[in-house]
């Protein structure tokens, strides 16, 4: 009795049907994680190779999308993040939670202050703001904002405590808002207000 090609084919077919439909999502998240498309393509390929090798460890019926993201996040952390890892100091504690609200609501348009700002921010600004987040924050923010994973799923995917996921998302949001606000001011979309 040998391994047999029928079994191999079955495995391949099942894998392709379950795993390949998530390529789109994996790729867009990989691009935001790695910040360039070449690395992102490599990461996605590695993810599929690894997932395929470990396909027998995947429990049928469980969440294939989260499983693939877990593999991908692992690859990113192990192989790509370390490449450019430099000590990052994140100092968001001086930003209070309603920083943006405070800035905008003093602009005189109390009824809907965010509308004006959001209307002027362009796609490139959002991408830039996300890319400038430190790796650890960017990963969690992208998994939540872009892919809509729950806190618990993110904890599982990125191998973090639930509390760490919450605090990184919280701080990541505040950093993002600060960056978007700064672009808006420096591009002259809105006028800065002293705090």
């Amino acid at each position: 009795m040998t391994g047999g090609t029928t079994t191999d084919r079955k495995k391949r077919t099942a894998f392709e049907a379950e795993a390949l439909p998530h390529m789109d999502a994996l790729m867009r998240t990989a691009v935001r994680m790695a910040k360039n498309e070449n690395d992102a393509e490599d990461i996605v390929q590695e993810t599929y190779v690894k997932a395929y090798r470990f396909w027998d460890k995947f429990e049928t019926g469980s969440n294939c999308r989260a499983w693939l993201f877990r593999i991908m996040t692992n690859i990113f952390i192990n192989e790509y993040r370390s490449k450019s890892r430099s000590p990052v100091t994140v100092d968001v504690d001086d930003l209070d939670d309603s920083f943006l609200y405070g800035q905008l609501s003093s602009s005189g348009r109390e009824d809907n202050p965010e509308k004006e700002l959001l209307a002027k921010i362009i796609d490139g600004d959002v991408r830039k703001a996300i890319d400038e987040l430190p790796d650890d924050f960017r990963m969690v923010v992208v998994l939540s904002f872009l892919e809509g994973f729950s806190y618990e799923e993110i904890a599982e995917i990125a191998d973090l405590q639930l509390g760490t996921v919450k605090s990184r998302l919280h701080r990541g949001r505040r950093l993002l808002q600060k960056k978007l606000y700064d672009y808006a001011v420096s591009n002259g979309y809105i006028k800065d207000r002293p705090k």
Binding site: M27, N78, E79, V126, F145
Partner: protein
């Protein structure tokens, strides 16, 4: 619920992560408190805005092209897994591997034998060496458990100091539940290798150490490369015997095990010292 309590839970509320009770209380608070409602609206519209912008941002690379690349990589995995290749130069090795596999089966290695018999990869000699050693080690283990174990420990220690001296490579004598139990030199694939054996209570991992200038990573493994710090890993994962090649400084360290429950990529037997 007061303003502070509502605002503390605001992000979790927006992310739909609050409990039913909290959700009701926050909704009630937002209805009656204009200030909090404005903050809520600001936060949730920024959230939606960012999601929409990111989701719109399609990579320029074609997904179809990526799909065919992935497909080619999967083909490669299919091929490398144990299909018999006729006329293989490793025919002879293959036959001895099967013999070694039988030994393992006899001592209760079980499970892997059917896959293994059809296995004719380039690395078969490494796998054979591992399996032969695993067999010996299992026989040894009973002895080691009953004796002081000085003989095997001594052998392992001499390899540790040799590696440190010649290659600045510091082998760890203990790796989690694995303990270095023996070491020897052996000619495999035409090169002299140091072959070390790590053992836990129920599994064996072999570690082969060979100078990098005498051994190059087999071509078909080149694109399984993983970089971890100053370490490059190449992964051959087939059901019979997993091999991970570590290229580090001037040596190649190869780990091998037929126990699929061990994550060999995380089994790093040592490190370079300055």
């Amino acid at each position: 619920m007061n303003c502070q309590e509502a605002l503390d839970l605001l992000y979790e509320f927006i992310d739909k992560e609050t409990s039913d009770i909290d959700t009701q209380q926050i909704q009630a608070h937002l209805k009656k408190c204009g200030d909090c409602f404005q903050k809520y609206r600001l936060e949730s519209s920024i959230q939606e805005f960012i999601h929409a912008k990111l989701a719109d941002d399609k990579p320029a690379a074609s997904l179809e092209r990526l799909k065919s690349k992935v497909s080619a990589r999967l083909d490669q995995v299919d091929r490398e897994e144990c299909g018999p290749k006729s006329g293989s130069p490793y025919r002879l090795a293959f036959i001895t591997v099967a013999a070694a596999a039988l030994l393992v089966l006899m001592i209760g290695g079980a499970g892997i034998i059917t896959d293994f018999i059809t296995h004719t990869s380039t690395y078969a000699p490494l796998e054979q060496a591992h399996l032969a050693q695993a067999h010996l080690a299992q026989a040894h283990l009973a002895q080691v458990e009953n004796s002081s174990g000085t003989e095997t420990e001594f052998a392992a220690e001499s390899v540790i100091s040799l590696m440190l001296e010649q290659n600045s490579y510091e082998l760890r004598p203990n790796l989690g539940e694995f303990v270095l139990i023996s070491g020897k030199t052996e000619e495999i694939l035409g090169v002299e290798m140091n072959h070390l054996t790590y053992s836990s209570s129920n599994a064996i991992v072999s570690v082969f150490i060979v100078p990098a200038d005498k051994f190059s990573i087999p071509d078909d493994l080149l694109d399984t490369k993983i970089v971890r710090g100053d370490l490059e890993l190449f992964d051959h994962n087939c059901p019979a015997c997993r091999l991970v090649f570590h290229v580090i400084g001037s040596i190649v360290v190869i780990t091998a095990t037929s126990d699929q429950s061990i994550e060999l990529l995380d089994f790093i037997p040592g490190k370079l010292v300055a």
